[in-house]
Structure formats: structure tokens, C-alpha cells
């Protein structure tokens, strides 16, 4: 699969190994994601999805090779790169004692926004994500779905060019899932690159144009969703997933 346009992500000959834990490691890994793409990264538990996202966001540092985000080298606490992307981790990554507004005020400031922009973006996001009515209530009282929406709002407050989404819809109801997916598709229409991981393969079919399957630290397939399913003669992503990664249960310790 050849990408001709500008790249959002460029991982080249990347090697990484956790000290003392050889189970998850990458060697000479290559991955390219075009700017403006909706990219899904899938794999069984322990395949290395979260590790790869951590490397792409600078939470971990590659031992060899390089990772570039919009042409800039990713490194730990690289403020220039950190301004370019937003991260929506799987865990609720905010202060539960605070309200959505208070969380957005704080994370907006840390994202490099000024007071006026924070206020404007906070109002926009709370309306779009259906949190306006509870804007001043502490998040700890929210349902799982509402917390997911807060988690997403914080990750996109600074209108990043690339958004990393690690299972952004886990544990939410159908309505919330649709709201989140619709909003992400809306962002993508505006040119935002989405890098997405999930176990919800049906959801990936709605959201992703390009997918990569990862297992044991290796990318075992990468292409557009339609082409991959056609090449592997499968009718669904789930069947293709099982076909490529097997039916053995995986442990992720």
C-alpha cells in the first residue's frame, strides 16, 4: 500500500523492548498513516497496540529507528510535538473531583490554549457532547458514558491535528457510542487524523478507512478495510481478525 500525500505518522525501522519483559517488543517496525486518515489499529490482548500508541505519543521512547508525527520527531516531553496531537486514553484521564468545565479549564491551559480560547472551546464541546447541562457537576457522579465523553472532550480541546484514541467507547451505551463516533467523523471531515484502537471490530467498520492488524509486535496486515477483506476473502473484520490471529486465548500481563 503506497501513500503519496503527506504523512501524519511515520514509523520507520522502529525497535523497542520493555526492560525485563521481552514479551512485547518491536523490531524494525514500519507504519505509515496519511494525514487526514481514519486509521484503526487492531490486535488481540498483549499484541502491542497500547505500547505502539505510547511510543507514537512519546510516553515511551523507541530504542532504535524513528517515529515522526507530522514530520517532527517524537520524543519524551517534546512540547512542539505534543501540541500537535491529542490523546484519549482508555482510562478516565481527568480529575473526578472536578466538573467538566473545571477539567477543561485545566487541561486546556496545559494544552497551551489561552483563557479566551479555553472558554470558547469548552462551551462548544460541552454542547456537542451533550454535557452542557452537567457542566458544573463533579465528574465522579457521572455515568460511564458521560465520563467517556468528558475524556474525549479533554483530548480534543486544543483541536489537535492528530488524535490518538485508545478504546474510546469501551463500556458505553449505544447512544453514547454513536455520539462519540459521529463527533469523531465530524472532526475527520475537518482534516483531523484519527488513530484508533479498539476491540469493537464492528465499530471499526463504521469509523476506519485504513486498518492495521498487529500481533506479537508485528504488523501482519495493513490496507484499506475493503481491500483487506477482499484479499482475505472474509465478509467481516471480525472473521478476518480471527483468521489472521487465531482463536487461542491471549493473556496480557
Amino acid at each position: 500500500m503506497a501513500i503519496t500525500g503527506p504523512l501524519a505518522i511515520d514509523v520507520e525501522d522502529m525497535g523497542f523492548r520493555y526492560p525485563g519483559n521481552p514479551d512485547v517488543s518491536f523490531s524494525k517496525l514500519n507504519l505509515k498513516v496519511a494525514k487526514g486518515e481514519r486509521f484503526g489499529l487492531f490486535g488481540p490482548n498483549g499484541a502491542g497496540k497500547t505500547t505502539l500508541i505510547s511510543l507514537m505519543t512519546g510516553l515511551l521512547t523507541a530504542d532504535e529507528g524513528h517515529i515522526k508525527l507530522l514530520g517532527q520527531e517524537v520524543g519524551r516531553q517534546n512540547n512542539a510535538v505534543n501540541k500537535l496531537f491529542g490523546f484519549v486514553p482508555q482510562d478516565f484521564s481527568f480529575y473526578q473531583e472536578l466538573s467538566p468545565v473545571e477539567n477543561l479549564q485545566f487541561f486546556g491551559a496545559w494544552s497551551g490554549l489561552d483563557k479566551k480560547t479555553i472558554k470558547q472551546r469548552t462551551n462548544e464541546l460541552l454542547v456537542i457532547l451533550g454535557l452542557d447541562e452537567v457542566r458544573n457537576k463533579p465528574v465522579e457522579k457521572f455515568s460511564g458514558g458521560m465520563k467517556r465523553r468528558v475524556n474525549l472532550a479533554i483530548g480534543v480541546i486544543h483541536k489537535p491535528a492528530v488524535i490518538f484514541l485508545d478504546e474510546p467507547t469501551v463500556g458505553v451505551d449505544v447512544q453514547t457510542r454513536h455520539a462519540i463516533i459521529d463527533y469523531l467523523l465530524e472532526l475527520n471531515k475537518g482534516g483531523t487524523t484519527l488513530i484508533y484502537t479498539s476491540h469493537q471490530l464492528s465499530e471499526a467498520e463504521d469509523l476506519c478507512r485504513q486498518v492495521a492488524l498487529i500481533d506479537n509486535g508485528k504488523i501482519i496486515a495493513q490496507d484499506s478495510l475493503d481491500k483487506l477483506m477482499a484479499d482475505h476473502k472474509q465478509e467481516s473484520l471480525e472473521q478476518m481478525f480471527l483468521n489472521l490471529t487465531g482463536k487461542d486465548l491471549r493473556n496480557d500481563v
Binding site: T57, G58, L59, R76, Q77, N79, A80, N82, K83, F85, F87, P89, Q90, D91, F92, S93, F94, Y95, E97, L98, E102, Q105, F106, F107, G108, A109, W110, S111, G112, D114, K115, P138, I154, G155
Partner: protein, 426 residues
């Protein structure tokens, strides 16, 4: 600057919603300072103003035992009540319980006879040594039967030793009087005139107790002046229960992962925590001092007198507070769970308080513990506060305490930095 301001606002909001943390930082130390000061004040009063109830069972019929009881009464430390008859240990214990007494004394039968015999014997020996021969030299007295003192085990060692000293002093007076009378009689063959006897025995050298202060004032220290500064320091270090836990919570919760991906260094977060919690320690000191000044008199406790050099007090409080904050953050960075931070934090604060002289004065410590006090930040805080509160010192007098405290604080900051680096948190 905007990021720091936003972080400070966030930390203040979280702190204000942490009801348990606030009560641990403010309510608990306030209760502690009031309770400890009241208890210590009542101990002061027990010895100095209130009298220790004592039951005396006098089995003797002579004059010496009556003089002994009068002497014990005259000390002014005891509230004497007497029981008669030959008392067994059980009866004596019952009598103490009935009269709510913490002490009981049994004066043995023939006490006066034996004191008199002993005195005559000593007088005789004295005359012989002067080259004179008196009747009393013929007396060879045996030992006087001991006084038996019962005490309630709740009495502290220090109080018991004071009691023993007081009774011994009364006993000494009685024995000296008898010896003097015998000596006088042997030489003059007539009774010692009462006026002379009183002059000889009562005209003791007075002891003037003067507190030595650096500013020349003569304010007598009391339980409030001792306890309020000490427990203020304890309160400041007790913020570890909130701050240490807050650092761990942020570290183990997902929020930290997100913070690491944002274009802001986590040091901004730590700086904010230091500023917010330093203000908390200042507020703790202000609240506890205010209670000492205005509320203590309502509890019947002596009011707190602030030092004359208020600027020195503020500086010492800032340095103490900063040290406490640095220690709490250091523990928070190294702890993996909130339970670890709280458990280690609480125990370590109590140990540092013990070693630092908050519970036992440093000057009373021996060997290893005396040296260990030097590495306890609380020791230096306490010394600085005592210099200001008890000795009337000024800023120049506490510089020697502030410098080690400052060095210890820098060590905590450095260790925190190493911990953050090692754990890939910065």
C-alpha cells in the same frame, strides 16, 4: 504563568473538595494541640497549683512523726488526709481509693523513738569528734524503719521522683531538727530555744528561678508556649496525609498519562502543589496560633504569647512549611499506592516527631537518638520555634536552625527529582 495559575486553581479546587484531607490537616492538629496542652497544663497544675492527694497512716505516737506530717503539709505540694490504726496494704489501697488519693504513706511505729535514738547517736559522735564527751555517745542506734510510700501507677516517673524528693526533704528536716536538739542538749544541758531552732532550720537559702531569654524578658514558659509551636510543626508535616496521597492519586490515575502527553512539564504541577500546600501550612500555623491566643483562655489554658520578632516567626514558618511540603511530595513520588503513602507517611511523621524532640525533649535523649535528632527536620523546626517562643530570640538567633532545615528541604527536593526521573515521570 497562565499554566501555573490554572494548575494552582485546579489544586485548590481539589483540596477544598477533599473533606477528609482538610479535617486531617486542620481539625486533627487543632484537637491534638488543645488536648495535649490541656493535659500538660493539668500536669503542671497538679504539681504547682493543685495538690496531690496523699493519705498518711501514722502508726507512731511520738513528736517526730507529727513534725514529719507538718513538714509534708508545709511543702505545699500535697493535700494530706490521715487514716488511723495499723493498716494492711489492702486497707491502705482501699483508703487511697476512698479518698481519691494517688499517694499513700505509712509511718512505722516507734518512728519518733528511732529518729530520736539515731539523732542522739549522731550528736554523740559529733561531740566525740570535737573532743567532748556526751551522754549520747553511749547510744548506738539501729536503722530507722523505712517509710512505705504507695503510689498510683498512673503517676509519671517524673512526678514520682518529685514526690520522693519532697518527702525526703521533709524527712531530712525532721531528722536534722532531732540531731540539732540532741547536740544542743548535750552541750548546754537544756532545751534548744524554739526561736533559735526555727532560725537554724527554716532560714534556708531561697531559690530564685529565672527563665533565661535572649531578649531579656522574664516570661515564665508554660504548657501553651511549649505545646503550640510543637504541635503546629506536627500539623504541618501531617499534610503528608493529603499531599502525599494527592501526588500518588495523580500518578496512578490516568490523568498523569494525559499530562505527560501535553506540552507542559510536570514540574509546573509540582510547583503548583508546593505553592498551594505551603499556603496550607501557613494557614495551619495561623489557625493554631490564633486558637492559642484567643481560644485557649476560654479553656482555662494560658494564652499563647507570640514572639516579638514576627518577621522571624513568618520566615521560620515558611521554611518549616516548605520542608513539610517537600517531604510529602517526596513520599508521594516514591509510593506506588495511596495506602503506601498514607501508611508510611503517618508512621514516619510520628517517628520524626519522636526523634525531633516533639514528644521527648532532645536534651533528654542519649547517644544515637541525640545524633538522630539532627537529621529530623522537625528538630530544627522545633529549635527555631522554641528560640522565638520561649527564649525571645530574633531572626539572627534562628539562622543556625533555618540553614540545616533548608539543606534538608533541598535534599528532599533533589531526591524527588531523582525519583521522578527514575520513574520516567518527567
Amino acid at each position: 504563568m497562565f499554566k501555573l495559575k490554572a494548575t494552582i486553581i485546579k489544586d485548590v479546587r481539589i483540596l477544598l473538595r477533599d473533606k477528609v484531607g482538610i479535617s486531617l490537616m486542620f481539625v486533627m492538629p487543632i484537637i491534638l494541640v488543645v488536648v495535649v496542652t490541656s493535659i500538660q497544663n493539668s500536669t503542671f497544675q497538679l504539681v504547682n497549683k493543685n495538690r496531690l492527694p496523699i493519705v498518711i497512716n501514722n502508726n507512731d505516737t511520738g513528736q517526730a512523726s507529727k513534725q514529719l506530717i507538718a513538714a509534708i503539709n508545709k511543702i505545699g505540694m500535697f493535700k494530706v488526709s490521715q487514716v488511723s490504726g495499723d493498716q494492711s496494704e489492702k486497707q491502705m489501697t482501699d483508703a487511697m481509693h476512698q479518698k481519691d488519693a494517688t499517694l499513700g504513706v505509712i509511718i512505722p511505729a516507734n518512728f519518733s523513738v528511732k529518729v530520736s535514738a539515731k539523732s542522739k547517736s549522731i550528736a554523740g559522735k559529733a561531740l566525740k569528734s570535737f573532743g567532748l564527751e556526751g551522754d549520747s555517745v553511749k547510744h548506738e542506734a539501729g536503722d530507722i524503719d523505712p517509710l512505705t510510700v504507695y503510689y498510683n501507677p498512673i503517676l509519671q516517673e517524673s512526678i514520682r521522683l518529685s514526690v520522693q524528693g519532697a518527702i525526703r526533704s521533709a524527712l531530712q528536716l525532721v531528722e536534722s531538727r532531732e540531731t540539732l536538739r540532741s547536740l544542743y542538749f548535750s552541750i548546754n544541758e537544756k532545751q534548744l530555744p524554739e526561736k533559735l531552732e526555727n532560725e537554724m532550720l527554716n532560714n534556708k537559702t531561697a531559690i530564685n528561678e529565672i527563665p533565661v531569654s535572649k531578649d531579656g524578658t522574664r516570661t515564665t514558659p508554660n504548657a501553651t508556649q511549649h505545646n503550640v509551636p510543637a504541635w503546629t510543626i506536627f500539623a504541618m508535616f501531617f499534610i503528608i496525609m493529603s499531599l502525599g496521597g494527592s501526588v500518588v492519586r495523580e500518578k496512578v490515575s490516568g490523568s498523569f498519562i494525559r499530562l505527560k502527553t501535553l506540552p507542559t512539564n510536570y514540574m509546573v504541577g509540582l510547583l503548583s502543589k508546593q505553592i498551594v500546600y505551603l499556603l496550607v501550612t501557613m494557614l495551619q500555623a495561623a489557625v493554631i496560633f490564633s486558637i492559642g491566643i484567643w481560644l485557649f483562655p476560654f479553656f482555662g489554658l494560658p494564652a499563647l504569647n507570640l514572639p516579638a520578632d514576627i518577621s522571624a516567626l513568618v520566615i521560620v514558618t515558611i521554611v518549616c512549611g516548605w520542608c513539610a511540603v517537600s517531604y510529602a511530595i517526596c513520599v508521594g513520588v516514591f509510593a506506588d499506592t495511596q495506602e503506601q503513602a498514607n501508611g508510611f507517611g503517618a508512621v514516619s511523621i510520628v517517628i520524626l516527631a519522636c526523634v525531633g524532640g516533639l514528644m521527648v525533649p532532645s536534651f533528654a535523649m542519649q547517644g544515637f537518638f541525640k545524633s538522630a535528632a539532627d537529621i529530623s527536620p522537625m528538630h530544627w523546626c522545633l529549635q527555631a520555634y522554641y528560640t522565638l517562643f520561649l527564649e525571645g530570640g530574633k531572626l539572627k538567633d534562628v539562622v543556625n536552625n533555618i540553614i540545616p532545615l533548608f539543606i534538608i528541604t533541598l535534599v528532599f527536593q533533589f531526591v524527588t527529582f531523582i525519583g521522578l526521573k527514575r520513574k520516567n515521570l518527567i
